[in-house]
């Protein structure tokens, strides 16, 4: 297609996409998650994963961890738009490949397997803090905590060994050392 010369509503050059983790501290009140999710969908940003939990019982503050992808300009907009929301207290953002940040996702796998296979599975999961939560002769439920790509691979490997159900959380994040997010 020929290069358009239009003055109006022509998409500009799209910058390089970066994966970012955005952490938002919000008042844990009715509708707050809808506000955050609505901001993302309304402005065409995407949410790859989302994890929410109340971290301050007294002040009712929840910490939301969002994994998203966008150009540096879009990421900047996401932060600024989030900060404008009334129930938002603070917003932290960092690149997915930041070495100073720890990330973890949690997954539960239910596998149909006899005891021999179960041993094999435990071996495969060994690196990812496996915990057996439930066990019977024919099945068991194993919990792992790992990075997203690792869990993706585990799920693939376990498929051959009788995986019948997977449940996973979004990513949560924490800084290394004595620093906290600001």
């Amino acid at each position: 297609m020929a290069k358009s010369k239009s003055a109006y509503s022509v998409p500009g050059k799209i910058g390089k996409l970066e994966r970012h983790i955005i952490v938002v501290w919000v008042d844990n009140e009715a509708g707050v998650l809808a506000r955050i999710a609505g901001l993302f969908s309304g402005r065409g940003y995407n949410i790859e994963s989302l994890a929410v939990g109340e971290v301050d019982k007294k002040k009712h503050i929840s910490r939301i961890t969002i994994v998203t992808e966008g150009t540096p300009q879009v990421i900047e907009q996401i932060k600024l738009q989030l900060k404008k929301l009334v129930p938002v207290h603070k917003v932290a953002d960092f690149k997915r490949n930041d070495k100073e940040i720890l990330f973890r996702e949690l997954a539960l796998f239910k596998v149909l397997a006899n005891s021999k296979k179960q041993e094999k599975i435990k071996k495969i999961c060994k690196k990812f803090n496996p915990v057996i939560l439930d066990k019977s002769k024919k099945s068991f439920v194993i919990q792992v905590t790992a990075l997203r790509a690792e869990i993706d691979k585990l799920a693939l490997d376990l498929k051959r060994l009788g995986l019948i159900s997977t449940s996973r959380t979004g990513s949560v994040a924490m800084t290394k050392g004595g620093k906290v997010f600001s």
Partner: protein, 588 residues
């Protein structure tokens, strides 16, 4: 122990403490307790609209012409959904509105009850914030917070949804006068540093092709901001252009003013924006009707952007010096610091910008707002010019609908004061102008208020004439009647092979008779010869007027940057109309 009062009483106590004088609304089942309480509060007058959208736009007109927040009161369900257009309009154009909506009783929420809808869910994306009040003891805090959020930072609409049982329940009323003034959505903002001011001044001093590009933020910052802007522009001797929403912040007749910029802006303003080496954006937001193709927008300039909303900065255009601040405060401190260190800047800098002014004057010679007048048929531009000439000596307030007439009004009516120009720019809401004029007239009794309208737009909210008559509001509805949705017709002519698909309105009402049936005055002008006398007649009538100005049906609005052309290539007039490329046609 404070006295316990009902939720409905709390609503009015809060409105009284916020010094609200007028509320615009429409009653219904789920707000009846609040309407019942109205009689006990004489300082608050209720203006009964004919449709909630009309009430909302009237509240917007009131807010924009007075600088105070507009208050809207509607019922649940359809009352709330009808208000959504007005809320979205206010959100896009940064108008402070507080909408109070009734809701079905708490125990019925979620049961698909009669006139129930998820009001807070529906209005979440079109308000700065909204609340569903579930405890009457939260009501006063939420109402005062609602006013704070609506009026601080970048202003905008908020909504408080109050279930009917909460309106009946008794609770405590609390009110603390807020001490923090300049806030963003109720959150504090930082002051501008001297370092930022010095960078700003350095850019001004280094520039040889500067331009001020100012917007609605100057108006929203209050009348002081306009004064400071005028001082800064005259101190520097730089040219200035304004967005649609910023008109009036700087006098439209001043020689340093290049007119409006953008899609239907002047040749000189758009070319100066394209070729400048320093762009000083004060309270504008690089909207797509201004920038066009962002990759080719003003490629050679350094850009300064002053905005109270941090998310407006860097959203569409990258800038070199971002400053998050209220316009008035920034300009005040900038002027002070500038004057301290740069005595006689104007004279010493004249040489540096003289070539730039020469170039600008060459562009000006194109006289891009010219049109071919006629002595047989009224040209719409001519009608706006005559209206301007015959009303400019009065303190006139202009509202508009959306379309060709809106652009002609912006081009040919010259404003010299802020808050005199109310138009739906962001959302582009046809039907805005008539109800907005009602709100403007209420805020400015005795002043001349004219809605420059198109016949298609004005029919969308025509029912509000009944409101104008009820409250004896002598608004003038000046309809440029070309029987077409003019801007749609223009685009179809230029971009869709003159296929005028559904843009002609057959069976229009007789506007003079329509005026009479509403109990106001109808006037019709058919030829250029009787235009002046009819306009004078309109101004002299002390009643609402519908003025049917029969204009050329096929006139197009120029200049225009058409789709498919770069920013500095405008169509100046009918003799220059040319083919637009296929790629251009798909763009809006």
């Amino acid at each position: 122990m404070p006295k316990l009062i009902t939720g409905a009483e709390i609503v009015f106590k809060a409105l009284e403490d916020q010094k609200v004088e007028y509320i615009f609304g429409y009653p219904g089942g789920a707000v009846l307790p609040i309407y019942d309480e109205l009689k006990n509060h004489k300082s608050i007058k209720h203006i009964l609209a004919r449709h909630e959208q009309g009430a909302g736009h009237a509240a917007e007109g009131y807010a924009r012409s007075s600088g105070k927040p507009g208050v809207l009161l509607v019922t649940s369900g359809p009352g709330a959904t009808n208000a959504v257009t007005a809320l979205t309009d206010a959100y896009m154009d940064s108008v402070p509105l507080v909408c109070i909506s009734g809701q079905v009783p708490t125990h019925l929420i979620g049961t698909d009850a009669f006139q129930e809808c998820d009001t807070t869910g529906i209005t979440r994306p079109c308000t700065k914030h909204n609340w569903l009040v579930k405890d009457v003891n939260d009501l006063s805090r939420i109402l005062h917070l609602a006013f704070e959020v609506a009026t601080t930072g970048r202003p905008g609409p908020v909504l408080v949804d109050i279930p009917k049982d909460i309106q009946f329940k008794k609770g405590k009323y609390k009110f603390k006068k807020s001490t923090l003034k300049k806030k963003v959505n109720g959150k504090t903002v930082l002051k501008v540093s001297n370092n930022e001011l010095d960078k700003f001044i350095e850019l001004i001093k280094r520039s040889s092709r500067p331009i001020f590009y100012t917007g609605g933020g100057v108006i929203n910052s209050g009348p002081e901001a306009s004064k400071h802007l005028r001082e800064l522009v005259s101190l520097t001797g730089f040219p200035i252009t304004s967005t649609l929403q910023g008109l009036g912040a700087y006098p439209g007749n001043d020689p340093q003013f290049l007119g409006m910029l953008g899609m239907h802006g002047t040749y000189e303003a758009n070319n100066a924006m394209h070729d400048c080496d320093l762009m000083i954006n004060i309270g504008a937001r690089f909207d797509d009707r201004i920038t066009g193709k962002v990759d080719e927008f003003s490629p050679k300039s350094k850009k300064i952007h002053v905005d109270i909303d941090p998310s407006s900065i860097g959203k569409n255009i990258k800038v070199d010096l971002p400053i998050v601040s209220d316009v008035s405060e920034l300009l005040k401190s900038l002027i002070k610091r500038f004057k301290e260190k740069n005595k006689n800047f104007l004279d010493s800098n004249k040489q540096k910008t003289s070539k730039w002014w020469e170039q600008i004057n060459k562009w000006r010679e194109k006289k891009s707002l010219n049109f071919i007048n006629s002595n047989k048929i009224i040209k719409p531009q001519h009608a706006v010019q005559r209206l301007y000439e015959l009303t400019k000596d009065k303190d006139t307030f202009i509202t508009t609908e959306v379309g060709q007439h809106q652009m002609w009004a912006a081009q040919h009516y010259k404003f010299d004061k802020p808050n005199r120009w109310m138009t739906s720019g962001g959302l582009g809401t046809m039907g805005y102008g008539l109800p907005a004029a009602i709100g403007v007239q209420i805020a400015n009794p005795g002043k001349l208020v004219v809605d420059i309208a198109g016949e298609a737009s004005v029919l969308m909210t025509m029912q509000e004439m009944s409101t104008a008559v009820q409250y004896k509001l002598p608004i003038k509805i000046f309809i440029l009647n070309n029987e077409y949705m003019g801007m749609v017709r223009q685009w179809q002519e230029l971009l869709h092979e003159k296929n005028y698909s559904e843009s002609y309105t057959a069976a229009l009402p007789d506007f003079v008779k329509l005026a009479e049936s509403y109990g106001c005055v109808g006037i019709r002008a058919k030829t250029p010869d009787d235009l002046d006398a009819k306009i004078k007649e309109m101004i002299d009538v002390q009643k609402p007027v519908i003025f049917d100005c029969v204009v050329d049906k096929s006139e197009n609005c120029f200049p225009m940057i058409p789709s498919g052309k770069p920013h500095n290539q405008m169509i100046l007039g009918p003799e220059e109309e040319e083919e637009i490329s296929d790629e251009g046609k798909i763009l809006v």
